[in-house]
């Protein structure tokens, strides 16, 4: 769905993005992570056709960016990190303007506006002035406006910045909903926990380059070399004993003890893991829980050895 080849962007003499080649398949919810100044916004702007690359190639849903900007804007929706709104307009007039600007037909305009208002939970604010909306509502309104032309690809740049925890949760739910509708989403943030819950793939950027990219499960498997498992004990001593026990067994790697918790990687089938669980439960009395750990973007990021992101 999104592919770039040798994408480079210089701001005068400063290289913001260098030789980025990546591919995001259709239907993915991809997290674009990296510290501030890593080149995330520049990359997203180039994907949205708002910034001309210095060199390289970008293709979104089969459309060559730069050659056909209008065609690109039909299929891409972009929510910038900072934006303003027309505060003097009502929410309805605001959406009506963008619906018309994106060539939504008159017949379907009303239905489309109602749909995005419902999706973003702004139906009750339909006739409110845009200027009277809270920060979270404004963020949702921009997403609503972006969804009016039903883009196949949605690019969200730091969508949760400046939002309170409640609004962040609402935003996460919204992104999940959109992902379920089949939209390819590329969402950037420098706060990993924001993206951890819903991303299926990740692109880690650093100093304008892609440090690592791919599906999270594949990356984890590649990095971890098996299934990550966590065992929790009542006491730290039990955990230490288990670590010793595990160290003597074959097929177990990266055993790490932290207080009463033991993390390790199991390189075997799920049936073999179940058998191991039974054996350990019988041998170690203090074992409280034993489970396959769900890996997040954060794990991938940390596994990449980069810790300069909150």
């Amino acid at each position: 769905m999104i592919s770039t080849e040798g994408l480079t962007k210089f701001y005068e003499t400063h290289p913001a993005v260098r030789e980025v080649s990546l591919f995001v398949p259709a239907g993915e919810t991809c997290a674009l992570v990296g510290p501030n100044g890593a080149g995330k916004t520049t990359l997203l702007k180039m994907l949205a056709g708002l910034l001309r690359p210095t060199s390289g190639r970008v293709e979104v849903a089969g459309v060559e960016v730069g050659a056909e900007p209008k065609r690109l804007h039909r299929i891409v929706g972009y929510v910038p990190d900072t934006f303003g709104l027309y505060d003097d307009l009502s929410v309805r007039h605001f959406l009506e303007y963008f619906a018309r600007a994106h060539e939504v037909s008159r017949e379907s305009m009303g239905k489309r506006i109602d749909g995005v208002l419902g999706l973003t939970d702004l139906t009750s604010k339909r006739d409110a002035q845009v200027g009277s909306l809270s920060r979270g509502m404004r963020q949702r309104l921009v997403i609503a406006k972006t969804l009016l032309h039903a883009p196949k690809v949605l690019l969200l740049d730091e969508p949760a910045s400046g939002l309170d925890p409640h609004a962040r949760r609402e935003l996460r739910d919204l992104i999940r909903q959109l992902a379920q509708l089949g939209t390819t989403i590329l969402v950037s943030s420098h706060i990993l926990t924001e993206l951890a819950d819903f991303s299926t793939s990740v692109i880690i950027m650093e100093r304008g380059r892609v440090a690592r990219a791919g599906r999270i499960d594949a990356l984890v498997e590649e990095l971890a070399g098996g299934t990550p498992v966590r065992a929790e004990f009542l006491e730290a001593e039990g955990a230490a004993r288990l670590a010793e026990d595990l160290g003597e067994r074959a097929g177990l790697k990266k055993i790490k003890v932290e207080g009463a918790t033991v993390d390790f990687t199991f390189a075997g089938s799920r049936a073999e893991l179940a058998a191991l669980h039974r054996e350990l439960s019988a041998a170690h009395a203090g074992l409280v829980s034993f489970y396959e750990r769900r890996l997040t973007v954060e794990d991938v990021f940390l596994a990449s050895g980069r810790r300069d992101v909150s």
Binding site: G6, T54, S55, R57, P69, R100, R106
Partner: protein
């Protein structure tokens, strides 16, 4: 969705209208306008009343016939004064307020942070620009529409002629729209394709407003003048039946201009020029929006602009006519305008370091054809502009040598070649110097080169005049000074063609002016220097400067390329 008339209009216009003139604000503005109109009318009506007479004349004043005359005088005074005031207000609305708001249109989008949404909008650049154009002027048009019927009624009451009113109001509309288009262009140009808020962006509005006000003040005389009366007086002077007043004769002549030899009233030419500027400013704004939305732009509209602008300027400076300025000075004006246009084009499209990087990336990256084609189009446009300028220069030269008197048949092609070569060398030096400056890290990019060149040529001209002799080499570096020096004393280019002569009137024992039909041009003083030497020295100076600029630009280009390829992060 229920039928909604706003859905048939340009969405950008509807948006701007809803933002600047929502229903309540419109009602308030209308109410306030009506109240102010009524108050103003009351004040003017009382001002127009005849003075209260002394009691001694009371009897005479009470006479019904006299009272009726006084009433008629008051109505007429009220009408003409109100017409004047309302016309000034209309000019303020259309020449100041509308253009100022248009000047802020794109800038405001950037400052507000909504520009990014418009960049991604599917509205065509034309519709976006048109929507902003009409939307920015909405408030001014709204109040103007309220004032216009009152102004027309006042003109009728004041006995102002229909022709005069319609001529002035045509200027009001055309000039107002033109300045609004210029404001829109300035706003779109300042926003560019960069992401940040433009530096000093909010100054565009006031600057455009000042420009509009100055234009209205400077040019309204061409629309308020009484052309019929002037034509009658000039005809009378020509017939010799009336005493010729030199001051009026010359003043009246100033209201008739020439376009490709045809004598046309000045207001028609001014209207045409203003309309031309407005149309191209709007086209330029659309083009800027295209660039802003990263839509590839073609070079042909720029060629068409240069072609048509050259044709227009050539038309205005064309041929020899009675009482016109000396052709050599008109050549200077033409060359100055062309140089300014080419320098501006070079400044705008100069290859800065980032564009050069794109160019060199395109050499390695066959997919980056877009940048390469745009850069090539910029280079071609400069060549086309220079070609148009030289073609115009040739046309003008020939028009000055087609002698309407049929006295001689000399084209002076040798001198023309010298002037044309000098001008071509100046244009080459300009483009090379601007490009040289663009490769340095000046904040202004290529425009720094334009500013420096203005200084260089002005300094050359000034130093030349301070040095001994009229045709010294530093002065000849300036192409305008060069053109004057090599044509000094020329029968066609440095001669007067005045229709006013002086004759002794024995009856009155004084000389008085009369209009004659001169049979020949009066050559001005011959050159007090060796013109062949001046021609050669000037060309050598121009050529040397052009070569120096080209050499420096080439060296800098190579150096920049080497450092950039060695260290791509530079």
């Amino acid at each position: 969705m229920a039928w909604n008339p706003s859905l048939s209009l340009n969405p950008e216009f509807v948006r701007a209208l809803r933002t600047t003139l929502p229903r309540r604000r419109a009602l308030f503005v209308a109410g306030l306008t009506v109240v102010l109109l009524a108050a103003g009318a009351w004040v003017v009506w009382n001002r127009s009343a005849p003075p209260i007479p002394y009691d001694a004349y009371r009897e005479l004043i009470d006479d019904p016939a006299h009272a009726s005359r006084m009433w008629a005088r008051q109505v007429k005074g009220f009408g003409s004064e109100s017409y004047g005031i309302l016309t000034v207000l209309l000019f303020a609305l259309l020449f100041v307020l509308g253009p100022a708001l248009a000047g802020l249109s794109f800038v405001q989008e950037r400052l507000r942070g909504t520009a990014v949404f418009q960049q991604m909008s599917l509205l065509s650049p034309f519709r976006l620009a048109a929507g902003k154009f009409w939307g920015a002027g909405a408030l001014a048009y709204f109040v103007a529409l309220l004032l216009l019927p009152c102004a027309l009624a006042a003109a009728w009451l004041g006995g102002v002629g229909f022709e005069k009113v319609s001529r002035l109001y045509l200027f009001l509309v055309v000039g107002g729209f033109a300045w609004q288009a210029l404001g829109l262009y300035a706003s779109a140009a300042l926003c560019g394709a960069g992401g940040g808020a433009p530096r000093g962006g909010l100054l565009v509005g006031p600057l455009v407003a000042v420009g509009g006000a100055v234009t209205a003040l400077a040019l309204n005389q061409f629309f308020t003048a009484d052309y019929e009366l002037m034509a009658q007086r000039l005809a009378a002077y020509a017939a010799g039946g009336e005493y010729t007043d030199e001051y009026f004769y010359r003043s009246y002549q100033a209201y008739w201009w020439h376009f490709y030899g045809a004598r046309v009233p000045a207001y028609a030419v001014v209207l045409g020029l203003v309309g031309f500027a407005g149309l191209w400013a709007f086209a330029g704004a659309v083009r800027r929006v295209k660039t802003w939305q990263l839509i590839p732009v073609g070079a042909r509209p720029a060629w068409l602009f240069f072609g048509s602008a050259c044709a227009l300027v050539v038309g205005l400076l064309w041929g020899r006519h009675l009482d016109d300025s000396v052709p050599a000075s008109r050549l200077e004006v033409y060359m100055l305008l062309c140089w300014g246009a080419v320098a501006a084009l070079a400044g705008d499209s100069a290859l800065t370091r980032s564009r050069l990087r794109e160019w060199w990336s395109a050499e390695r990256d066959p997919l980056s054809l877009l940048q390469r084609s745009e850069i090539k189009a910029s280079v071609t446009t400069i060549l086309v502009a220079a070609g148009c300028s030289l073609a115009g220069l040739f046309a003008l030269w020939m028009s000055y040598h087609v002698d309407p008197l049929g006295n001689r048949l000399e084209y002076g092609l040798g001198t023309f070649l010298a002037v044309a070569l000098c001008f071509a060398l100046t244009l080459t030096a300009t483009v090379a110097f601007v490009q040289l400056c663009a490769m340095f890290r000046f904040r202004l990019g290529g425009w720094a080169g334009v500013a420096l060149l203005v200084f260089v040529y002005a300094f050359a001209g000034l130093a030349g005049t301070l040095l001994k002799g009229e045709a010294n080499t530093p002065a000849l570096l300036n192409p305008l000074a060069y053109a004057v020096a090599v044509t000094k004393g020329d029968y066609y280019l440095d001669s007067d063609y005045n229709s006013l002569a002086w004759k002794y009137d024995p009856a009155e024992r004084s000389t008085r002016p009369f209009v004659s039909a001169p049979s020949d041009y009066t050559t001005r003083s011959p050159a007090p220097y060796d013109q062949a030497s001046a021609t050669t020295r000037g060309l050598a100076a121009q050529g040397g400067f052009a070569l120096l600029c080209l050499l420096l630009a080439t060296l800098k280009y190579r150096h920049t390329r080497r450092t950039m390829l060695q260290d791509p992060g530079d």
